[in-house]
Symmetry: D3
Subunit: 135 residues, 6 copies
């Protein structure tokens, strides 16, 4: 639960609280297994877990409530709004525009709640290819 | 095309070559738009784009050929086999075990081709919560 | 239509009624084919059809309206709230937590409308493995 | 942008406008690549592109906002409400009833806004097989 | 069955024949309901049903066997290889490149079997916007 | 592991064994969490868990390897081939024919391996509505 609170903040604990009268066991498994057993493993830092998670939730579709929790979590572990927006732009290549648009509007809602709009555009690409700077 | 070759290596260019007699325009759009317009943007480094991509391809399902290309690409831009395997373990929480298993077996095939098996397990989790190391 | 009314109750017939001015043929096919030709077949009892259906609607995602109809239907054919909640917990293993959470909240809405909250937790697991009680 | 406005009308440009403060680059790519590079290609007329698109958005699920934009676009390029409804009935065979129902209700919302309800049913099928009437 | 044979040819009837010893009822429902009740309706011609179907099967993913049957069917009802390839290029905008690539390779397999490779590229786009030819 | 072996038999343990050199942690989580924590809960018997699982795997698509494991498991916990085939026919209503066909062919492969072909068709439906035989 500490891991979860540190990453998701109130948004995550609110979701679990709302399970209390319908499926406390599901709440327990999200916290104990999802966060305790998997998320807390040190082999990948929270920032990178969030990038994988944003990709998955965008691709799955229909996961806007979870996207909002995880956009919040992504900000909490150090991703900037620009980086989140870039990850969702990147998702258009693999999932198509509808999924990318839905995810971006879910992120916009979180940014609005946290007073982070407008998102400053990322700096324009330098002319040289950035993927192989030393080649 | 340089961006693509730098990241995907031969696996990516082979896919595009096999489109030449059926849909050269799709090959052109993958290279020109997917890689030239989106991937090459500096707002997110290749390593982090690959983490988002691994998450998406795992979640989409039925994308084993693309997963193999992108596991290769992930190794090319500096992710270790342990980190890739950890991202796919993480995906089980959000996509369920079947998608995580299919993606892990696709990764295993690439690791085998590159002589990277067995993958050494990640170091066991330290007792303290890793998400907030300084707290 | 009798089969449909017996299983889905008003929730199902309301859906079909709202199709009357846009696609009466789709309403006809849901009733005549979905319920008349397939659902009514005796080879699987309604209770077991509902379990398969809950699994499918959870896995598909974005089917919360249909989940509400089928949680109602599941109660109508004899599944208890505990069993429904357990099926959705089970779904987390195969579809991941986001789908399981969305489905559980759809179920919670139906339970609330029918005065079935809070759902009493299932009895804790007995120490012996239940899958092979005699082994 | 002209292609987009000609096809999607205000619904499409409103979506892009709402991206201005969160991901102007995504708006740019939808317009420049999605519409400028792909949609505008003459190899398939807009009417037929819309049929493919309605099929995809129905199958993806969770794309009701995009479906509403594209039902509008489909009307704009000459598909009739009957043809749209028929395409969505057809989708039930390949995607199942839940996806077909969700898409039909999204279409109904657009038809209501444009004063196109009730949709007159398509003429009943002639007794002879329509797929090969004379050949 | 006549409708099915006229559209799908041997590929479709082979699928149904291979169901005979496992689920003759599913074969019956594909033929009687999918083709007899829905496909044969005159409100949308076979050519346009195939475009919707190609979109759906591409978006669903994991339906390469069905895509091969329906690429064959699309050729049988008058779509050209160029139009099929264009529909699949179009799908990249909505479903992303992985689904578009998988579908294009399934189509390539059918084109190869029917001696239709290489597919001649569509004529380059005329400078004027094709979506509004009279403007 | 005992629960898993009792249900899945060799097919399940083979999958886990093949993870040993790539992701032993994923194998551990499938066994410890999927089977130990969730599957073994007595609130739903194995037969009914398998019905939910067959529905999910069919709906997800691209999970043919997992379907084969779970068709085996379904037979092991007492479902008959006829009941499995009926569940997959039922899935066509909710997931469409392509997913139902892919799942049925995966089941056929398992039935062939276990000498269970041909599957005797279910008894034809009695004229009275089976959903409410006595009410």
């Amino acid at each position: 639960m500490e891991v979860l609170r540190g990453i998701d903040g109130d948004a995550g604990t609110d979701v679990l609280a709302s399970l209390a009268d319908v499926s406390p066991e599901l709440a327990h498994q999200v916290a104990a297994w999802g966060f305790g057993e998997v998320y807390a493993r040190p082999a990948l830092p929270p920032r990178e877990r969030q990038l994988v998670t944003l990709g998955m939730l965008t691709a799955l579709g229909g996961c806007e409530p979870q996207l909002r929790v995880h956009v919040n979590a992504s900000l909490n572990v150090g991703l900037t709004p620009q980086e989140i927006v870039e990850a969702l732009l990147h998702s258009a290549v693999y999932c198509g525009f509808p999924r990318a648009l839905n995810a971006t509007f879910a992120a916009k809602q979180v940014f609005a709640e946290r007073g982070l709009l407008p998102v400053a555009p990322a700096a324009p690409a330098a002319p040289a290819a950035p993927a192989a700077p030393a080649a």
